[in-house]
Amino acid sequence: MATVKLLSHMATAAGTAEVEIEAATVGRLIRILEERFGDEFGTLLKACKVIVNGRSVVALKLKRTPLRPGDEVSLLPPLAGG
C-alpha cells in the first residue's frame, strides 16, 4: 500500500487529502486514481507533479517508477509551487 497525499486543490477535487492505494507502479496508481475520482480530477491530475518519497518521478522512471509498501506519493498541482 502506498500513501497518496493529495495536495492543495487536488484534495478539494478528490474530497480527501490522503488515500491508501495498492499499485505496482506510478502509472497504475494514476489510472486507479482517475477511475476512483472521475474525469475532472483526471484532468487536474495531468498537470500535477508526481513525487515519490520526496523525489520527482522525472528523476526516477516516470510512470514506470515502482512503488513499494509504505511509499509516500505526493500529487503536487502547479499552483502549490508545482
Partner: protein
C-alpha cells in the same frame, strides 16, 4: 551633470552625518548604461567611494540607497529600491532590496538615490523634503520600536526606521520601510552605528522622464498581461502569497526542518499558504504599482497586521520545529517591531536549539517544537540581553562560540534562507556563491527550476547546474538593477498546456534533457559578450520597457551584461575585502551528509559544481574574474585590483585574513559600546 537618459532624475543625494554636509552626488551616463541602477550601480558607488578594509560598524562605512530606472514609472512591480553597504554579517558586500515607498518618493523628490556617510553624535532623523534636507534630533525616538517611530507621519511621507535591534547593532538588524523591510545582511546595524534612527522622504512632484512615453506605456500594458496570465504571478502569488510555496517545498523535501536536518515537516499543513488563506487572511496587499500583490494582511488578536511570507514561515516554522501559524504571525510582527530580519532570526534560533539539544548551550526554553519563550528571546536578542546577546551575533558566531561551528546553517556568515538545498542541489550552489552570503535570490533561485516552477528538471543532478546558476544570477541581478521585483522573472519559465507538457510523462523527461543540454548553449553565449542576443524576448518584457524609457536599445544581451557586471563587481568587492574562494562554501551537513540515505545524490556536490561554476564565469581556480572577462564587460577600471588579487599568494592571503580579524576587533569594540547603551 544630469542625465541624457530617460529613467533617471540625474543626481543622488549625499549626506555626511559627521559634518552635516549635504551635497549632490553625480553619476556618469556611462555608469548608468553599464550598471543600470539598484544593487549593480550601488556596487560601483561602493567600489569608488569605500576604501578597502573599512570596519562595517564605523563612521567610515557608507550606506548607498539606489533606485532603478524603472522605479516610479508605473511599470509592473517597479517600486523596488536597494540599499548596499559593507556587511556586518559577512565582511563583504551587503545588499538589501525593498518594495516600500522610499524609492518612489526619492525619485518624486528629484533624487535617484541617497548616500549616507559618517556617523552622528546623537540620534538623528534625516528629513528629505524635495530639495530641502535637514538633520534633526531623534533623541525622543531612540529606544522606540519601528511602529512607534513611523506612526502618524502620514501617507505622503516615506519612512525608513530602525528599531531597538538596529540601535543595539544586532548583526541581522533590519530597516523597516513602512511595513516592508530592508531585511537581510544586517543593514539596520550599520544605520544604528550611524545613530540614524529615521529617514523620511516627501515633497517634490518630479516625474520620471521617459524617452518614448507611448512605447513605455504600451510595453507596460503587455508586461502586465504576461504577469497576469502566468500561473505563478497571476494565480499562485495573488491567491496564497509566497506562502503558497510551502506545500511544494515540503513535498519536494526542500523545506528546511529542525535546523536543516530534514527537508520536510510532518505538521506542515497548519502553516501552509492554503491554511493561511482559509483561516486568517483578510486581504492581499502589495508594493505600489504591483499587479501581483503577493503581500498578506491577516487577522491577529482582533487587529489587521502584515502576514508572514514564505521565508518567515519556513524559518520561524519548520526550521525551529514550530507548526503554529499564530506563533509565526506573532513572531513576525515582533521582529518587525524590533527591526530584526526574520530569516536570520529563525536560522539563529534553530542553531541555538540544536546547540541546546547537544548540551552545548544551557537554556531551558530553547527546544525544537517548543514555542514557549520565543517571543521573550526575540526581545532579548533585540536588546542584547543575557543569552540574547550571543544570539544577536547570528548563527555562525553563536555556533563558533559554543564549540560547534558546523551547526550554523550559513554561507559567508549569512543564515541560509528557507530552502533545504539537498533537495535542489543547484540552489545550494547558488547559496554558496551568492555575493551577500546565504541568499536564495542573489543565488539565482534555482529551486524554481529544480522543484517549484511549472516545468522543472532533476533536482539532484549536478549537470548544467553551474551554467543555469550563472544565467539566473545574472538575470536576477539585472532585474533587480532596473528597479523591478525579482518575481517578474517567473514568466521566464513558461507554463505549458497539459497537452504539450505532462509533468510526470515523457515530455517532462524531454524537458529535463533540454535543461541539461542547455549547458552548451549557455557557455557559448556567456563567452560572446554584451553584443550577443540583440533580441527582446516576450518572456523578458523588461528589455522593451527599458529601451523605451531610456532611449537606448537595451536588448537581452546588454541587459544580461548589466547583471553580470553587477555580480562580478560585487564579487571583486568581496575579494578585495578579504573573502576567498573557501568562503564559497556550505555547512558540512549539506555537502557531506545525505538527506535521503537511499539517494546518493541527495547532498550538495560543491566539489563537482564549484570548479565548473568558476569556469563558466570565466574566473580562475581561486574564483578571481579573468582579465578577458573584465575587458569583455567594459570593466577596465577593476583590472588593477583583479591583477593584484591574482598575484596574491598565501602570505598575502594571510594578510587579508589579518585584515578581517582587525575589522572584527573593531566591530567588537563597537558592540561593547552598544551593550552598555542598551535599554534595560
Amino acid at each position: 551633470m544630469t542625465s541624457k537618459l530617460g529613467g533617471y532624475m540625474g543626481k543622488m543625494l549625499d549626506v555626511n552625518l559627521t559634518t552635516g554636509k549635504v551635497e549632490n552626488y553625480w553619476i556618469s551616463d556611462d555608469d548608468r548604461q553599464r550598471f543600470l541602477g539598484g544593487k549593480a550601480l550601488a556596487a560601483k558607488i561602493l567600489w569608488d567611494e569605500l576604501p578597502p578594509g573599512v570596519c562595517p560598524l564605523s563612521p567610515e562605512n557608507i550606506m548607498v540607497f539606489t533606485t532603478g530606472p524603472l522605479t516610479g514609472t508605473g511599470a509592473p512591480c517597479s517600486a523596488r529600491f536597494n540599499l548596499s553597504t559593507k556587511s556586518v554579517a559577512t565582511g563583504g558586500i551587503a545588499s538589501s532590496n525593498c518594495g516600500g515607498d522610499l524609492g518612489i518618493r526619492l525619485k518624486q523628490a528629484g533624487w535617484d538615490g541617497l548616500i549616507v556617510r559618517g556617523a552622528a553624535k546623537q540620534p538623528t532623523h534625516l528629513e528629505i523634503d524635495g530639495a530641502k534636507v535637514r538633520l534633526r534630533s531623534a533623541r525622543k525616538l531612540w529606544g522606540k520600536n519601528t511602529e512607534e517611530v513611523q506612526a502618524g507621519l502620514g501617507r505622503k511621507v516615506a519612512t525608513a526606521a530602525i528599531g531597538q535591534a538596529g540601535e543595539n547593532l544586532v548583526r541581522y538588524a533590519a530597516i523597516m520601510v513602512g511595513e516592508r523591510a530592508l531585511g537581510r545582511t544586517g543593514v539596520g546595524a550599520v544605520m544604528g552605528q550611524k545613530k540614524l534612527k529615521l529617514i523620511t522622504v516627501t515633497g517634490g512632484d518630479h516625474k520620471v522622464p521617459a524617452s518614448d512615453e507611448t512605447g513605455l506605456r504600451e510595453s507596460i500594458r503587455k508586461w502586465t498581461a504576461i504577469l497576469k496570465s502566468h500561473p505563478t504571478t497571476g494565480e499562485q502569488l495573488p491567491k496564497y502569497g509566497t506562502a503558497g510555496l510551502l506545500t511544494g517545498t515540503n513535498a519536494t523535501k526542500t523545506l528546511p526542518t529542525e535546523n536543516f536536518r530534514k527537508g520536510s515537516f510532518k505538521s506542515w499543513e497548519t502553516i501552509s499558504g492554503e491554511y493561511m488563506t482559509e483561516n486568517v487572511l483578510v486581504k492581499n496587499s502589495g508594493c505600489r504599482a504591483c499587479p501581483i500583490r503577493c503581500g498578506r494582511v491577516v487577522e491577529y488578536q482582533k487587529r489587521e497586521i502584515k502576514g508572514p511570507e514564505y521565508e518567515t514561515l519556513g524559518m520561524l516554522g519548520p526550521a525551529i520545529g514550530n507548526s503554529s501559524l499564530e506563533h509565526v504571525i506573532e513572531w513576525n510582527y515582533l521582529c518587525d517591531l524590533y527591526g530584526l530580519d526574520t530569516i536570520s532570526t529563525g536560522g539563529t534560533l534553530a542553531c541555538a536549539m540544536e546547540l541546546a539539544e547537544r548540551g552545548l548551550l544551557k537554556d531551558d526554553g530553547l527546544r525544537f517544537g517548543n514555542p514557549e519563550g520565543i517571543s521573550e528571546m526575540i526581545r532579548r536578542i533585540a536588546l542584547r540581553e543575557g543569552i540574547g546577546n550571543d544570539l544577536a551575533e547570528g548563527a555562525m558566531r553563536l555556533a563558533q562560540k559554543y564549540g560547534a561551528p558546523e551547526l550554523a546553517m550559513h554561507a559567508k556568515g549569512l543564515e541560509l534562507a528557507a530552502y533545504e538545498p539537498r533537495g535542489a542541489v543547484g540552489h545550494g550552489l547558488g547559496y554558496a556563491t551568492a555575493n551577500r552570503g546565504g541568499c536564495h535570490l542573489n543565488g539565482g533561485y534555482l529551486v524554481y527550476l529544480e522543484a517549484l516552477g511549472p516545468i522543472t528538471m532533476d533536482p539532484h543532478t549536478t549537470k548544467a547546474k553551474p551554467e543555469l546558476v550563472v544565467m539566473q544570477q545574472n538575470l536576477m541581478e539585472a532585474i533587480s538593477a532596473c528597479g523591478s521585483c525579482i518575481f517578474t522573472s517567473y514568466p521566464v519559465i513558461p507554463q505549458l498546456a497539459p497537452r504539450w507538457y505532462n509533468p510526470h510523462g515523457l515530455t517532462a523527461a524531454a524537458v529535463d534533457k533540454v535543461f541539461q543540454g542547455l549547458r552548451f548553449v549557455l557557455v557559448s553565449q556567456g563567452r560572446l559578450g554584451p553584443g550577443a542576443l540583440p533580441i527582446h524576448p516576450p518572456f523578458l518584457p523588461h528589455t522593451k520597457a527599458l529601451s523605451a524609457l531610456m532611449g537606448q536599445n537595451i536588448h537581452m544581451g546588454r541587459f544580461l551584461a548589466a547583471g553580470e557586471r553587477g555580480f562580478v563587481l560585487e564579487r571583486l568587492f568581496n575579494l578585495r575585502e578579504g573573502l576567498v574562494s573557501a568562503d564559497d562554501s556550505l555547512p558540512p551537513r549539506l555537502t557531506d551528509e545525505l538527506q535521503d540515505p537511499s539517494n546518493p545524490d541527495s547532498r550538495v556536490r560543491l566539489d563537482v559544481m564549484l570548479p565548473r561554476y568558476y569556469k563558466v564565469r570565466d574566473w580562475d581556480a581561486r574564483g578571481i574574474p579573468s582579465e578577458r572577462l573584465l575587458r569583455k564587460l567594459g570593466m577596465e577600471f577593476a583590472l588593477g585590483m583583479a591583477t593584484r588579487l591574482r598575484v596574491d599568494n598565501s602570505p598575502h592571503r594571510a594578510r587579508r585574513m589579518a585584515l578581517r580579524a582587525r575589522e572584527e576587533e573593531s566591530v567588537q569594540e563597537q558592540l561593547k559600546g552598544a551593550r552598555t547603551a542598551a535599554p534595560r
